[in-house]
Every structure is written in structure tokens, then in C-alpha cells.
Amino acid sequence: MTDTPLLELRNVSKSFGSVQALTDVDLEVRAGEVMALVGDNGAGKSTLIKCVAGIHPMDDGEMFFDGQRVHISSPKDAAKLGIEVVYQDLALCDNLDVVQNMYLGREARNGFQILREPPMEAKTRETLKTLRVTTIRSIRQPVATLSGGQRQSVAVARAVLWNSRLVILDEPTAALGVAQTEQVLALVNRLAEQGLGVVLISHNLHDIFETATRIAVLRLGRNAGLFERAKVTQEKIVHAITAGQPTKVSGIAATTDGAPV
């Protein structure tokens, strides 16, 4: 592929005090692909996407969106670019209902900042229907009364409610049952088909191999390989996750035929 990637990260570093969470990490996501991001616990996956989302400022490194250098310093900046994130530690307000959570921070309103509930309610209902989330009894019940999987569905639905261009999902299926997992994975594929970029973080290699176009491996906060899904085996990925050597490259790694870059 020659077109510019949707999202490009170069040499991202981030530390929390003395903990070096990320060191010179590169990542590239193209429109229409599912980029899987894998790595052991504490490898830095969540930290990396929080940098993209404007939750944590990155210490070092560059970010390009549509080939343009961008600076993201708050979640609002990310949302403006069309980046939506489903966080591992779900960012929902338990005391608010489903509709209120779906529209949190971007409520339908008139010029006087007065809420317009009916369109929000109608669109929420519709979005949940397209995602085939059918188990939620009422979209006006507080999120606190939902099961873990239902909460997860709400979080995913919230990310796709907007005209997003890049959807990042941090372990979206971790709390889900078999059927719900299938649905989220199908949704992930559908998003990519519609031309969005998708970043999928998961520990479940089965899920990854079912959806991903490419697989990026992080280990100890460094790149430890970039693979084409079609040309790699689960064993190779497991090896990269557990024992991969840092792939110290400058700039963005090109896709290769299965070998770590």
C-alpha cells in the first residue's frame, strides 16, 4: 500500500515517574484495516492508546493523522479528529443512564445549552439495534444496573455513535460471553469494511486472528514485531509477546512477510 496511513506514531516514549512505560514505540494504522496490538500485561498497550486519546500527554514522539502532524493534549482534541476509544477500565458513569452515557460530553443541545433528549434517545436506540445489543431492557436505566457485558456493549456503541475515523478498542471482549464476543468482533470487521481504522487490543489470539489485518507486538514498552496476519502463525506471535527482541528501527516499520521487522 502506498497511501498515507490514517494514524502514524513515531518514537513515542512515556514514563510514569521512574516507570518507563513506553520507549520509542512506532505504530501505524491504515484506513480500512484492523491493527491488532498485543503484548503481555504491563507491556504498555493501554498507555500507548491513552497517549493517542489525549488522556496522558506523551513525553516524546510524534503523531500524524492523515499525514498531518497533530498534537493531542485532551480527549476533546482526539474526538475532533474522529478518534474514539473504548477503554479497558470502562469510562462510564454508573449514575447516568445508557443514553446519557452514550452522549456524555457531546449532548444534543440547542443554542442555550438546553438538552434535546428525544433525538438522543432515538439515536441511541437505533445504534444499539444496529449493533444487535438486545439484552438491555431499558436505555433509561442507570448503567449501574447493567451486567459487565452490557456495559461493554454500551461503551462500544458509544464509540461508534459518532462519525469516527479511528476506533480504538482496549480489550473490548474481555468481559463478554461467547455470543456478545462474536458480535463485537463482527462489528470490528464491519467498521474496517466501512473504511475506518481500527486498533484492537486483546489477549485472545483467537479473536485477533479472526479480525486483524496486521498484528503489532509490544514487549516491555518497546516494539517487538509487526506481522501480517495472513502470513504468521499463533506460535510466532506468542514467541514475540513472551520473548521478542526489541525491533529498534527508525521511522515506521514496513510490513514484512511475517518476520519481525
Partner: protein, 406 residues
């Protein structure tokens, strides 16, 4: 992308609404009992006192209770906002005292001698700015609100003592004193009842109608019908009783007007929605792009401003301010009013009207016990016990909720 915006008039498939019993069970399970326990308690208290305390059950005493609770209630509206974001403001009582002092000093014919409305405006402004100041330290620096406002408690008490070198200032402006002592004529009182009824019924039916236009069925039509009938009846009964005495006191208008305005702000505006969000999960609110610090500062500003308004009413009631301004049980009463009314100390749950119901309960209890001849000491102890019960209740309910959730 996934779902196109629904064009107006699109028929959206009606989803079966959850039946009312189910919703009630949900609300109990999640600790959303709201103010029902207090309303029941208030009715019980009224029943007991009307049987035991002489002259309790009279229009004059009803008017008394209302003028007694007005200042506390106005302050408590602000307290509810602060509680909603999971913070506390211990300075509200002395901030109200500061506003009283400002009003009294500025109206002095021998001093500044400013027009009454300027005095009132400046007093509320001063109280609001105090709120902004304290809120900024909480929101921007991250100092716990408990500590910031405890410091404020001391600072503003000191300011009152310093500001009242003469010990007591009499308020001579009749307009200012009217904030507590003005009564509407019988006709105006009826008109106010009608106005409130029309506003309420219009608001309720209006939003229900707006929903049906988007294909959203009216939830609980029975409850809606009940509300639309009961609220106007209550309004007219209250005014009817008050008209048997001196009519609607200005303090009641302030309480009801503030209730309407702040309920609208809390429930129908983006700001209100964000207040609840910050109280429910501040990190989630931040990730949703909400400026959490701004919300916190504004909430403390509201608490300050409402304390100012309450302080003016309290000063007007005495037609003077003295060194006790903002002292006594005012702080406890104002916070207790919010908490007793059913606002959670843990943030995110509660309604503005809780302040009104809580203040009514506290005022009724102390009024009734006073008539029965109990000492102030006993009244304090009972008020404290009610607060304790309310907070314990909140905590237990919250524990139940955590157990049932996820």
C-alpha cells in the same frame, strides 16, 4: 457512520417499556429512593405534632415554618450541587453571614447608602466570588474541598467579626427586609399558585409531547397524570392556607423560584448533566471531554451565590446582622437539609428538591419541639440524630447497590 441520524418523523419501533414495578425495584436496588423516605417522615412528623403541639396546626404557624426555613433552604440548594459532584462546602453558613454583613453595611443611610438592589447584587456577587475562589483551589490545585472550605469557615467567620466592628447593624431598607417580611396580597398569592401550576404542567406535558414526536412513548403515563394533578393541588392548598394568615411570604417565592431554576439547570442543561457525570465518575467525565475543573468551580460558585441569597433572607428576617451571623446551627441545618432530603454524600445522586424537603423536615421538627417546650439542646440532639439516620441510610443503600451491581 453506522447509523444515520433519524430523520424527524421516522417511525422508530416501539421498544417495550419497562413496567413501573420493575423500575421501582431498579431504583431501590440502585439506591435511587430519592426523597420518598423523607416525605413520609415529614408527613409523620406533621401528624404527630398536629396531635400533640398546640397551635402547631394553624395557618400562622405554617407561615412561620416557611419563613424560618427559607434561608436554610436557599443555602441548601447550593449544598446539593456541591454534594452532587461529591464534594462538601463547610463555609456556606459564614459565607451567607458575609453576604448579610455586606448588605447591612452598604444600605446604611449614614454610610454607603446604596440603593437596595445594588446592595443585594453586591452581596450575592461577593458570596459568589468566594465560591469561585474556594472552588478554584479545589478544582485547579486539588486540595480536598473539606479542607479548603473548613479554612473558609474560619476565614469568613473572622471576616464577619472584623466587618461588624459596631457589633450589630440594623437594616433600615424596607425593600431588603421584605426578603423575609413581605407577604403577597391574597390575589397575588392565588396568581402565584396558578403560575406555578401552569409552569409545572406545561413543562411536564411539553417534554412528554416532545418525546412522542420522536416516536418515544410516554413513560409511566399514570405517574405523569398523578404529578400533573397533585402538584397544582398542593400549590393551591398551600396558598389557601397561607392566605388564611398573611398570604404568600416572599421567602416562599424565592424558594420555589430557585427550585424551578436550579432543577431546570440540573436536569435540562448540558451543565447539569456534566455535574452529575463529574459526581458519578470524574475520570469518565474527563475522558468524555468534559472540563471537570470548570464544572467544579461553577458548582462552588453556585453554592456561594445561593449562600449569599440565603444570608440576605436570614438578615432580613432579623432586620439586622450581628456577630452571630452565619453561626449557630445554620451550617449543620443547610448541609443536613441536602443530605436528609436524599442527596448522596458520595456524589452523583440526588435532586435539587431534596434541599426543600430536607429543610422542611428540619424546620418542622425544631418548630414543633419548640412549641412543645423542649430545650434547644434537645432540638440539636434530635436534628443531629436525623442527620445520622439519613447518612447511615445513604451508606447502607450504597453498599446494597455495590453488592447488586456487576
Amino acid at each position: 457512520m453506522t447509523a444515520a441520524a433519524p430523520t424527524p418523523g421516522t417511525q422508530i419501533e416501539t421498544v417495550p417499556l419497562d413496567p413501573l414495578p420493575q423500575r421501582i425495584r431498579d431504583n431501590v436496588r440502585t439506591g435511587n429512593l430519592g426523597s420518598w423516605p423523607v416525605i413520609v417522615a415529614l408527613l409523620l412528623v406533621v401528624l404527630v405534632f398536629s396531635q400533640t403541639a398546640q397551635n402547631f396546626w394553624s395557618p400562622a404557624n405554617f407561615t412561620n415554618i416557611i419563613t424560618q426555613m427559607a434561608g436554610t433552604c436557599l443555602i441548601a440548594y447550593g449544598v446539593v450541587f456541591v454534594l452532587l459532584i461529591g464534594e462538601i462546602d463547610l463555609s456556606v453558613a459564614f459565607v451567607s453571614g458575609v453576604a448579610g454583613v455586606v448588605v447591612a453595611e452598604l444600605q446604611l443611610p449614614t454610610g454607603a447608602n446604596l440603593p437596595w438592589f445594588v446592595c443585594i447584587f453586591l452581596a450575592i456577587l461577593a458570596a459568589t466570588l468566594i465560591g469561585v475562589f474556594q472552588g478554584s483551589i479545589v478544582a485547579l490545585v486539588g486540595v480536598p474541598s473539606f479542607v479548603v472550605t473548613l479554612a473558609g469557615y474560619e476565614i469568613w467567620q473572622g471576616a464577619i467579626l472584623k466587618g461588624l466592628t459596631q457589633g450589630v447593624v440594623t437594616i433600615q431598607s424596607g425593600k431588603i427586609n421584605g426578603f423575609s417580611n413581605y407577604f403577597f396580597s391574597t390575589d397575588w398569592s392565588w396568581l402565584l399558585a396558578a403560575g406555578v401550576s401552569v409552569l409545572y404542567v406545561g413543562g411536564m406535558l411539553g417534554s412528554a409531547f416532545a418525546g412522542t414526536r420522536h416516536g418515544i412513548a410516554v413513560r409511566d403515563p399514570i405517574v405523569l397524570a398523578l404529578k400533573v394533578v397533585v402538584v397544582p393541588i398542593v400549590a393551591f392548598v398551600v396558598v389557601g392556607v397561607l392566605n388564611k394568615d398573611r398570604g404568600v411570604p416572599f421567602g416562599l417565592l424565592l424558594m420555589v423560584g430557585s427550585l424551578v431554576i436550579w432543577t431546570f439547570v440540573a436536569k435540562r442543561t448540558t451543565f447539569g448533566r456534566h455535574v452529575y457525570a463529574v459526581g458519578g465518575n470524574a475520570e469518565a467525565a474527563r475522558r468524555a471531554g468534559i472540563n471537570v475543573a470548570r464544572i467544579r468551580i461553577l458548582v462552588f460558585a453556585i453554592a456561594g451565590g445561593m449562600s449569599g441569597l440565603g444570608g440576605i433572607v436570614l438578615a432580613a428576617r432579623l432586620q439586622s446582622v450581628d456577630l452571630n451571623a452565619g453561626g449557630g446551627t445554620l451550617l449543620i441545618d443547610a448541609i443536613a437539609a441536602g443530605v436528609i432530603g436524599g442527596t448522596s454524600l458520595f456524589g452523583g445522586r440526588g435532586e435539587i428538591r431534596n434541599a426543600l424537603i430536607g429543610a422542611a423536615l428540619i424546620s418542622t421538627v425544631s418548630n414543633g419541639m419548640f412549641i412543645l417546650g423542649y430545650d434547644t439542646g434537645v432540638i440539636f440532639m434530635i436534628t443531629g440524630l436525623i442527620l445520622l439516620v439519613a447518612v447511615t441510610f445513604d451508606t447502607v443503600v450504597r453498599r446494597l447497590q455495590v453488592r447488586s451491581g456487576r
